[in-house]
Subunit: 144 residues, 2 copies
DNA sequence: CGCAATTAAATCGTTTACGATACAAATATA
DNA sequence: TATATTTGTATCGTAAACGATTTAATTGCG
């Protein structure tokens, strides 16, 4: 076994902290979202729909960078929970249009404190928040 | 449905880019790790073992912030691929000691270019890399 | 010592993720 | 207009993740 290359040290990895931070932050959402009976990816779907209702699955796919093989079952579970409904588009029979139910719309108001409560876990200054978000957005653009 | 709270916009979220960036970067590893027949979490286990061989499952758990319910099946798959072996500790019968196989050790040399090849996808300056890593490490410390 | 508490792995069930592929509808092109 | 291509979802199989729980080994403490 060769001597340890610096780049092969976990300590020097940038991808591992990214991966770990993402998982840890998702865990932070759990107690907050538990009251609503939803998971973090389901919450993301709601965020999209709260901005723009009655959109196609492909629209949600573009916004969240998740494919249909992930979204289809996820959204079906949300339909079973009566947070939204799925129907074929009239103009394009291939498309599925997702619409919020009353319950799904109501949850928007009830969940307003979630982002604030979550951000408090970060213990970051506004500058740090902005820097981190800027770098992550740039990373996504570069890698995508 | 209430008017959209700024913090409820996907655009203003910091957690979503974290989540998306993590998934995209993991995808970047895929073509690189495909040659070795391993996944990104499996690669992380190898990184730990390349630094320190013959460690307990709980040690890997601490390093990667992954629990036994994730690691046990993951490591078992790696044992089936003959990258490592699992045996009970002599001093503590509860512990499982993970040891690299020759194949697992050899892979260290062969995979040396992986971190370099991956970093090129980022198209980040050294400063940006350092800043991002610093913020992610701090975030992990704060949230953990 | 004897028993309660802790620790290390493993098991179970559910939900993401995603590559590969299938399939039907819509679009482009010859 | 026929056919090839593209597009939008869905299906399948596999591998993470993780909460909750179980089991066995070890430790701590009266």
């Amino acid at each position: 076994m060769e001597p340890t290359n610096d780049y092969q040290k976990l300590e020097n990895q940038i991808c591992f902290p990214l991966y770990a931070a993402s998982r840890l932050v998702t865990k932070c959402y759990q107690p907050l979202l538990k009251d609503f009976g939803i998971t973090y990816p389901q919450y993301l779907v709601l965020l999209v729909l709260w901005e723009k209702d009655e959109v196609s699955l492909s629209y949600i796919s573009e916004r969240l960078l998740l494919q249909s093989n992930t979204l289809t079952p996820l959204v079906k579970r949300m339909e079973e929970m009566e947070l939204l409904s799925r129907k074929r588009s009239d103009t394009d029979e291939r498309s599925i249009i997702i619409s919020l139910s009353d319950k799904g719309k109501q949850m928007k108001t009830e969940a307003q404190q979630v982002p604030v409560a979550l951000a408090s876990n970060f213990q970051f200054s506004v500058e740090e928040m902005i820097t981190l978000k800027g770098l992550l957005d740039k990373l996504i653009r570069n890698v995508e």
